[in-house]
């Protein structure tokens, strides 16, 4: 069921699907990102964590160019992201994003939210788009809500719809920007479960999150950021049991209390 409209080259598992070299970003005088070097390969699950203001959200939003970096280079599937690039929308079609505040389209039903991308952007005809939408809604386990409007759903359900909506575009990479931070505790689990299933199915995932249990279970690599820099990155066991930097230790103390 792949669309043929994308012209992003296929990647092998060895070349990085996303690579950042020397990336820096300023908001006015304030430096949000400092000389970031990062590589992400296909099928990798990356968790980015750190104290607030560390630049983790900024970093992930630079990956689909919702934010613009001023220095350094970012390559996605071999295409460089920069101010004058053509076809940013085509690149974005291959990157799914899930937001902290869900950002579902309130005037469309759940089903229509999921059909919007394939039908309007990729030109997939309505019945195929609907099939795919229902399939994705089943994958996130809420197919029965298809004809409801977002405001009729709980927070956890809305976030799962958001995930399904992104999946309908069959992206290569999924970005998660604090997906459970705005949810009530009892709904966090259902969203994390969905994300774990997604990870198991082989999706490349980059998650900014505070959920350390999830990180331990799913991540291939944990990237710790503070003050706009990557302080350290490691496998989960090493990261939690053997933090290298003082900053990391302070953070872990606070968050695992």
């Amino acid at each position: 069921m792949m669309d043929t409209k994308t012209n992003i080259p296929n990647n092998t598992e060895m070349t990085p699907v996303i690579s950042l070299k020397g990336v820096s970003k300023w908001y006015g005088d304030f430096q949000a990102l400092s000389n970031i070097d990062l590589e992400i390969r296909l099928k990798e699950k990356i968790v980015i964590c750190g104290p607030s203001g560390s630049g983790k959200s900024t970093l992930i939003r630079c990956l689909n160019r919702l934010e613009a970096h001023q220095e350094g280079t970012i390559h996605v599937s071999g295409i460089e992201l920069h101010e004058r690039m053509k076809d940013i929308d085509v690149v974005r079609q291959d990157i799914g994003m899930v937001f902290q505040s869900f950002n579902l389209f309130p005037h469309l039903t759940v089903l229509e939210n999921c059909m919007a991308g394939p039908n309007w952007v990729r030109g997939v005809d309505k019945s195929k788009a609907k099939e795919r939408a229902i399939a994705m809604l089943e994958q996130v386990k809420i197919p029965e809500q298809a004809d409801k409007y977002p405001e009729q759903l709980s927070g956890g359900q809305q976030q799962r719809v958001a995930i399904a909506r992104s999946l309908c575009m069959q992206p290569k990479v999924m970005l998660f920007d604090e997906p459970t931070s705005a949810l009530d505790p009892e709904m966090v689990a259902e969203v994390l479960d969905t994300m774990i299933e997604l990870a198991k199915s082989g999706m490349t995932m980059i998650c900014v999150t505070h959920e350390m249990g999830f990180a331990r279970q799913v991540a291939d690599r944990i990237v710790f950021m503070a003050d706009g820099e990557i302080v350290e990155q490691n496998s989960p066991e090493e990261f939690f049991n053997n933090p290298q930097h003082e900053r990391t230790k302070v953070f872990l103390d606070q968050i695992l209390k």
Binding site: G96, M97, P106, H107, Y149, M169
Partner: protein, 321 residues
């Protein structure tokens, strides 16, 4: 209104308030002096000839009026909200009718002229307003998008336009168009001049309304759309504008209602719309109030129709979500 859960004692049930109100109203009625009106006539048995009743007569009339007024308010305060509204509307409407009646109008005068007022006057007013409304809306959509764009030309033209056409009185704009354009070589008749002035003037106000409506859609909607790979036109058309519509409906409805009334300015150019006929149909017999009041009722009725339509549309959007 988001009413509080605790109900206060009604002001009208407190003795202190009632007394204060009564004294104020008494003073007002006394100052206005209704002795020479109908009420004075009613009280003839008590005060004698109204014109010669002096202080006593004036005081008596004011006292009676005060008692009627305060008792009326007091009685109404016992009813439920909806009933109160209905009663007060009815009383205000009757007062308005009394006002109209006091002019000693000839109904036959109105009857003979009403067909012309409706077939010519009302028809012209509606058709001028309708075309202007459509044009103003088109201008507003273009203007709002231009004002929100990154294109220097678009932004400059749009902001200049809204500044200029909100900066001049509509009547002045009408004259500038009617008298000015022909001198530049563009001949324009009265009706097109009126439509142009109305469309441009209200288009400017509506541009601001549309712009604010579009801007009020949260940034997250833009981000989610962009993240899915939507292009600008698609985002605007399918995501932003549909959400902006329920927001802009109340202020836009206001503008439409105002445009309906401002079409009356075309009368200055001699167009035979409602206002013009209201003024001139009385000329032959030197009776003006009949036609003016008739036009007033027609304008009011038209406005109420528009208000009802607006309320229905707002309801429909509330139900949708």
């Amino acid at each position: 209104m988001f009413v509080d859960t605790v109900i206060e004692d009604k002001a009208l049930h407190k003795p202190a308030f009632l007394i204060g109100l009564s004294l104020t109203v008494l003073a007002i009625f006394f100052a206005l002096n209704f002795t020479n009106s109908l009420f004075g006539e009613f009280l003839r048995p008590v005060i004698g000839d109204p014109t010669e009743s002096g202080f006593f007569g004036r005081f008596a009339v004011s006292l009676v009026l005060t008692i009627i007024f305060v008792l009326n308010l007091f009685a109404i305060s016992f009813f439920k909200l909806k009933v109160q509204v209905a009663i007060v509307w009815l009383e205000l409407f009757l007062l308005f009718l009394a006002f109209a009646y006091s002019f000693d109008l000839k109904m036959s005068f109105i009857q003979s002229r009403i067909p012309l007022m409706i077939t010519r006057g009302l028809f012209t007013t509606i058709y001028i307003s309708a075309i202007s409304i459509v044009l103003a809306t088109v201008i507003a959509i273009i203007g709002a998008i231009a004002k929100l764009s990154n294109n220097g030309f678009a932004y400059a033209i749009s902001s200049f336009y809204t500044s200029l056409f909100r900066g001049l009185p509509l009547l002045l704009q009408l004259f500038l168009i009617y008298k000015g354009l022909p001198q530049l070589g563009f001949m324009v008749d009265a009706v097109p001049a009126a439509i142009t002035a109305l469309s441009l003037c209200y288009g400017a106000y509506m541009t601001e309304i549309f712009r604010a409506g579009i801007q009020s859609i949260p940034k997250g909607q833009w981000e989610a759309s962009r993240a899915l790979g939507f292009k600008f036109n698609l985002i605007l058309r399918k995501i932003i504008l549909p959400q902006a519509v329920p927001i802009i409906i109340p202020p836009t409805g206001n503008q439409f209602i105002a445009m309906l009334k401002d079409s009356s300015l075309a009368s200055v150019l001699g167009v035979w719309e409602l206002m013009y006929l209201a003024k001139t149909l009385g000329a032959r017999d030197f009776r003006h109030m009949e036609m003016l009041l008739t036009a007033a009722m027609i304008y009011w009725a038209l406005t109420i129709v528009l208000e009802v339509i607006q309320a229905r549309i707002e309801e429909k959007y509330k139900q949708k979500s």
